[in-house]
């Protein structure tokens, strides 16, 4: 491998940082750890090719604000957001603000590596992302599926989608499965990505 890529881990939990560093180093990445968003912003990104892996929920400055700040200072630096289960709406916001992907904690190694590779492959400017081949959800989906799609990418869970559209949870789940298939999306992050590019 040529010049190794650097992953900047930003998480207020020491053990999460340490374990990620170990795992990523063993997968041949350079790793730098930061205990807070502020610490990272002060240090700045490394010179070599890198991406940021940041927790969404941190004291003082959360991952969302960090994402915004990075967008201002280093618009070409890709960011992957890590979330707990309850923070999906925040992750969706982060993606709208330009994050490449998000991972729900705890995550398996393949998901982690894939998200990081995608982030590193992504070369910055949002304009370039638009060039990616994509399906237009508005055209590919039925009206109802599109409604479900819009609620999902706002971070609503199946139950809330069902409630809002006044349909059963089972029906909401069926719509979700159908639209994921039509859009060739494997997870919520894919859906959010589509919704952003669709704008």
């Amino acid at each position: 491998m040529s010049a190794r890529e650097t992953i900047c881990v930003v998480d207020d939990d020491l053990d999460v940082r340490d374990s990620l560093a170990l795992l990523l180093k063993r997968s041949d990445f350079h790793v730098r750890c930061f205990a807070s968003a502020r610490e990272f912003l002060e240090a700045g990104p490394p010179a070599e090719k890198s991406c940021v892996l940041a927790d969404v929920r941190m004291p003082e400055m959360d991952g969302l604000e960090l994402q915004r700040e990075i967008g201002k200072r280093w618009p070409h630096l890709p960011v992957v957001i890590m979330t707990g289960h309850g923070d999906v709406p925040m992750a969706v916001k982060a993606m709208r603000a330009g994050a490449i992907d998000f991972l729900e904690k705890p995550f398996e190694k393949p998901a982690l590596i894939e998200a990081i590779k995608r982030a590193l492959a992504h070369d910055g400017a949002a304009a370039e992302r638009n060039a990616a081949p994509r399906v237009d959800p508005r055209e590919a989906l039925t009206e109802r599926e599109f409604e479900v799609f819009q609620l999902l990418v706002e971070g609503h869970q199946n139950k809330m989608v069902a409630h809002k559209l006044n349909i059963s949870v089972r029906t909401a789940e069926a719509h979700r499965a159908n639209l994921m298939g039509k859009l060739k999306a494997r997870n919520l992050a894919d859906l959010v990505r589509l919704s952003i590019f669709g704008d």
Partner: protein
């Protein structure tokens, strides 16, 4: 209104009007318990028209067993002048024409018109009051239930977050360990690490299910009159304020814009804050609780609950909103944590500060409802 012997054609119009327009039931009986006057309100209360009742024994308006005992009561009084109900009032049960019964307050006075010894009964219908009491009780039960659910949801949310961090670390370490085992060709160890990883993912899924199971009493945010909401919370939560020698005052700015809130949740927050305030003042000589509702900006309304207790220690003040933080012997220390969660979910903030005159003020903001919120 029908009069038998009381007036002989000589009707005083004012007297007529008074009896006929009285909101309370007015009834006059004589020494034989025979109904002499039975006004319009009585007709509404009992369902009988005056013609059906006047001239008959009043016991027809009473359910058993009072019905059978009543003649005895009247006779006993006339004979002994021992007063039981006369001069005072009591809660009794009335019998309607349709055989249903209703709670009523009956006050009885006595007097003479010439030789005629009469008893005057004033009847107030208590069924509405009872229905209201019942409604308040239901609201309290509902609030308790919601608060249980919210507690559980919040505890689960807190636990999920706390547990996710170590689970994430475990899974990462395990995956690194599995890589090492694979590289060194130790198949057994690799299998073991794989199994640890599997079990960790399983634990993560359990938390995920737990959360989605308890979620979501979907907050039901509507345009509400905040002052009214708070007033109702005070009625629900502080019914015993007087018993505890607490002087409670609600100061609401007039003509406030509507707030966008889940009424039950906000009431829960206010009741929680008021209960804390009441407990804080338990040993204080001055027990003044002031609840203030006002606008602080075009976008936010603020509720403040001020007490005259001993105030907060610096040490406690710092940790006030942390879960499992409590100064009480009983209690889980989740109250303020939950309150803050609710307020923040509304897009507001909850904090504590010193009350300038001594004691503590808890303040929180909730958003003003905008046109578009009516959806």
């Amino acid at each position: 209104m029908i009069k038998v012997k009381l007036t002989d054609g000589q009707q005083d119009p004012l007297f007529e009007a008074l009896i006929a327009t009285a909101v309370d039931g007015i009834m006059v009986i004589d020494e034989t318990a025979t109904v002499q006057i039975y006004n319009k309100a009585c007709e509404r209360l009992f369902g009988y028209e005056a013609a059906e009742v006047v001239g008959r024994n009043v016991k027809m308006l009473m359910p058993a067993p009072y019905r059978d005992a009543h003649d005895g009561y009247v006779g006993h009084y006339v004979e002994t002048r021992e007063k039981h109900i006369i001069g005072i009032g009591r809660e009794v049960v009335g019998l309607r024409k349709d055989a249903t019964t209703f709670p009523m307050n009956l006050s009885v006075g006595e007097g003479y018109i010439g030789d005629l010894h009469i008893f005057v009964g004033i009847i107030t219908d208590l069924s509405e009051r009872q229905a209201r009491d019942k409604r308040i009780q239901e609201l309290q039960t509902e609030m308790w239930h919601v608060s249980r659910l919210t507690d559980m949801g919040q505890v689960a949310a807190g636990l999920a977050h706390e547990l996710n961090q170590p689970l994430t670390a475990i899974l990462n370490y395990t995956n690194a360990g599995r890589d090492i085992a694979r590289e060194s060709g130790d198949g057994d160890l690799e299998t073991i690490f794989s199994k640890v990883a599997e079990q960790t993912s399983r634990a993560g899924n359990i938390i995920r299910r737990l959360r989605s199971f308890i979620e979501k009493r979907e907050p039901n945010r509507l345009q509400e009159d905040l002052a009214k909401t708070i007033e109702e919370a005070i009625r629900l939560g502080m019914m015993d304020a007087a018993d505890r020698n607490i002087h409670l005052e609600l100061k609401a700015e007039p003509a406030l814009p509507a707030a966008l809130i889940d009424r039950t949740q906000i009431q829960q927050v206010v009741i929680n804050l008021m209960k804390n305030a009441a407990e804080a003042m338990e040993h204080s000589p001055r027990r003044q609780m002031t609840v203030t509702v006002r606008a602080v900006s075009p976008d936010f309304l603020q509720v403040a609950v001020a007490d005259t207790g001993p105030g907060l220690d610096k040490e406690i003040a710092d940790k006030l909103f942390q879960p499992f933080m409590t100064t009480k012997k009983t209690g889980m220390g989740m109250g303020l944590n939950i309150c803050r969660g609710i307020v923040e979910a509304h897009g507001g903030r909850l904090w504590a500060e010193d009350n300038p005159g001594g004691g503590t003020v808890f303040r929180f903001n909730v958003p003003v409802a905008k046109e578009a919120d009516e959806a």
